[in-house]
């Protein structure tokens, strides 16, 4: 009996060691980024150790100043100016559309739903030039509208699909009960569906936040003026591999700062988020 327990604990111990090692390997790039932020530029690629020999905060000061007429304060502010409306509007419009698909029968519903799923399958690279031409004709280039307006019209099929699946899982009896109590269909959405959807809403919000925050290509194409650059463009602003040396330490320092908002958001909303991906089956 005792022997068996011993065996079990050895097994458990080995398991722990393995998980720790594997975890370290997975986290290593992040640790490397953080440590590089404190190193001298010339030591980044020569000094393999994670702990810098001398801690050096200059990279943060130099990096924050940016290049030319914009600093990272401006870039952070711009990123929030894009991300916040996009996240809020994606959730609002996504909920309305998903509610429609999940609860109401209407002519052509099946076709419309398959069209929506089809847009989900469409590779974004196919859409780049046509949408760019469209937005440039409307005169929206060099503004944040190409990100915000589509979000207001629920063009990210992924979130609609996710919310539809979630709402379908909520028993229709609850709607009926609310209707008997005198709710109209909008009140049902607000007072019954939304509170029950919280996990799905949080997952959608966090995903949208992270994708928009890290999006490089969309920002690159639509934003021209440097003072309108969001973080993702600001970080790559002075990386020119074709000539000259790159000041990696400031870039690493700013990268460290730039991952803070998504990380903080993730931990704050962690409970809902984990519940959300568990219940919708997205992994």
């Amino acid at each position: 009996m005792k022997k068996r327990e011993e065996k079990k604990s050895v097994k458990g111990f080995l398991m722990q060691v393995f998980i720790l090692l594997f975890g370290f390997v997975m986290v290593y790039p992040v640790l490397w980024m953080i440590s590089s932020a404190f190193k001298e530029n010339k030591d980044i690629f020569t000094d393999i150790g994670l702990v810098p020999t001398v801690f050096n905060f200059n990279a943060f000061i130099d990096g924050w100043r940016g290049v030319g007429n914009a600093n990272f304060g401006v870039f952070f502010f711009n990123s929030f100016k894009i991300v916040i409306p996009v996240v809020v509007l994606t959730i609002l419009s996504g909920l309305l559309v998903a509610y429609g698909f999940a609860r109401f029968p209407f002519p052509g519903k099946k076709i419309l739903f398959s069209i929506m799923i089809a847009t989900l399958m469409l590779p974004t690279s196919v859409l780049t030039i046509p949408t760019y031409v469209m937005f440039s004709k409307v005169g929206w280039v060099n503004t944040y509208l190409p990100f915000i307006v589509p979000a207001a019209f629920s063009t990210s099929a992924f979130f609609v699909y996710m919310l539809v699946q979630f709402i379908r899982g909520i028993p229709v009896e609850l709607d009926e009960a609310a209707r008997i109590d005198g709710c109209n269909s909008f009140q049902i959405l607000v007072q019954v569906i939304v509170p029950l959807c919280k996990p799905a809403i949080f997952s959608a919000g966090i995903f949208r936040f992270m994708w928009t925050w890290n999006d490089f290509f969309g920002n690159l194409i639509y934003i021209n003026t440097v003072t309108k650059y969001p973080i993702s463009l600001g970080l790559r602003m002075a990386i020119d591999n074709t000539a000259g040396s790159v000041n990696w330490s400031s870039i690493m320092a700013m990268s460290v700062l730039s991952i803070l908002p998504p990380v903080i958001l993730f931990f704050v909303a962690q409970d809902y988020f984990v519940e959300g991906i568990a219940t919708t089956g997205i992994k």
């Binding site: 030319g68 419309l112 194409i221 990386i239």
Partner: protein, 456 residues
């Protein structure tokens, strides 16, 4: 109630349909813009007259470039100076890193919304030019002094269908740099010529003395450049000519591949497994920083990269070549190109700014060598006087021009580079013998050239 709901649903559906239709419309319009090249030109002329009218009032020009910190700061300073000299012109800078610049530019050009002055990389021009008259012909303007540039150089690199589509920002040539602290004997220097055999001997000998030391700091892209030079010295031409014909023989290529294998076997270069890590960033190889690699081949513009923030003392040496070679093996190309898209509203104002940027002594003094050694003779003189351009580098550029640099045809090259890199990798990793690979690459290369020729 129910009816209302139905109405909303229908409206939404209609909205979605409309959205799809506009999407499609956008798509066809791009295709149209690509094929109808004549319309692009006429709109350029229209806007020309508009530009003339507007020159009295405020003109806003957008100027897009990529670069690192130094180039950004210098260019911003130059812009400020130009605005001070020309109060009626406002220049909006649009700068960023190199990542994605090309995709952005291509998208903007197809949407007719590119900046008024754009920095382009010379190899992209052939493809852009294929899509129609997207770039303005600078020969048509009197406001720019093209005589400051070497005529053959301008013709070879920037003339497409008889139009000069841009001006070089600077000149770039491939040079060998050696670590002065490590290679101290007098075989190395700007005026010494080393042959490929001598290179092999020195490398073998030094590796035998110190097994940690390798003479050449190369990776596949550099080996590719060196092979091109090696072949050029035997044929006098680039690997293919203006008619898309292969210029070298299978035996010449085999000898080149054999040389690469011998380099590896003799310890002249690091094994493929090691140098493969540093593709496109050989200067980050710790061995280079520690002085365990002696020589690198770079574009002159990357000289500062090679010194790793000035911690390595490098000297320029001549192109490695046999005394009796036909070609010089030296490549010369614009570091980048400034072009003006035909969609610009103020062509003449844009040309004026461009002329100032490349030819004016004041601009040259501000921009220094942030875009390579200036191609304009006037600008080069300014930098020599300021001692920013070293006599050594000026000598390299001027002797490269004199030596009759190998002319790279202005033609689309498709997957050519990748094809060569793959072949070099296979040889380096000894997956294929030099004989077999030379035979195979010659066959593939001929096929590609044939395809490219038919695609013209």
């Amino acid at each position: 109630m129910k009816r209302l709901r139905k109405g909303i649903a229908l409206l939404t559906a209609a909205g979605m349909m409309a959205g799809m239709m506009t999407g499609c419309g956008g798509g066809t319009q791009t295709a149209g813009g690509g094929t109808v090249s004549g319309s692009g030109q006429s709109s350029g002329q229209d806007s020309g007259s508009k530009g003339g009218e507007a020159s009295g009032g405020q003109v806003v020009l957008r100027f897009a470039w990529w670069g690192g910190e130094e180039r950004h700061n210098a260019t911003l300073e130059a812009i400020a100076k130009y605005q001070e000299l020309n109060p009626n012109v406002t220049i909006e800078p649009e700068y960023g890193g190199f990542d994605g610049y090309q995709q952005k530019l291509i998208t903007q050009l197809s949407g007719n919304s590119a900046a008024d002055i754009i920095q382009i990389d010379q190899p992209w021009l052939a493809d852009i030019n294929k899509q129609g008259d997207l770039l303005m012909d600078l020969n048509t303007s009197e406001n720019i002094d093209l005589s400051q540039f070497d005529e053959t150089f301008l013709k070879n690199c920037l003339e497409f269908d008889g139009k000069i589509v841009g001006v070089p920002t600077g000149m770039n040539t491939n040079v060998f740099l050696y670590n002065r602290d490590v290679l101290t004997d007098d075989r190395f220097g700007a005026d010494k010529i080393i042959s490929w055999e001598e290179l092999m001997e020195i490398g073998t000998q030094m590796h035998a003395q110190d097994p940690e030391f390798y003479l050449l700091n190369v990776e596949q892209t550099i080996i590719n450049l060196m092979l091109h030079s090696y072949l050029n010295q035997q044929t006098g031409e680039y690997i293919f000519n203006k008619d898309y014909e292969r210029t070298f023989t299978e035996e010449q290529l085999r000898d080149g591949f054999q040389m690469v294998v011998d380099w590896i076997d003799n310890g002249v270069i690091e094994p493929a497994e090691v140098n493969g890590i540093y593709v496109n960033r050989w200067y980050e190889n710790p061995k280079w920083i520690d002085g365990k690699l002696g020589i690198c081949q770079v574009w002159l513009s990357s000289q500062s990269t090679a010194t790793v923030d000035g911690s390595i003392d490098v000297g320029v040496m001549s192109m490695i070549r046999e005394a009796d070679g036909v070609g010089s093996g030296v490549m010369i190309r614009p570091s980048q190109v400034y072009s003006i898209p035909s969609s610009t509203k103020y062509p003449e104002e844009a040309v004026k700014f461009l002329d100032w940027l490349v030819n004016d002594p004041e601009a040259a003094a501000i921009l220094k060598d942030t875009r390579g050694v200036p191609a304009s003779a006037a600008a080069r003189q300014v930098l020599l006087d300021m001692e920013i351009l070293s006599e050594e580098n000026n000598h390299v550029v001027e002797s490269a021009m004199e030596a009759g640099a190998m002319t790279i045809p202005n033609l689309p090259t498709g997957d050519m580079e990748q094809m060569w890199l793959d072949a070099i990798q296979e040889v380096e990793y000894k997956v294929a013998s030099p004989e077999d690979k030379a035979k195979e690459l010659v066959a593939d290369f001929d096929e590609l050239l044939q395809e490219l020729k038919e695609g013209q």
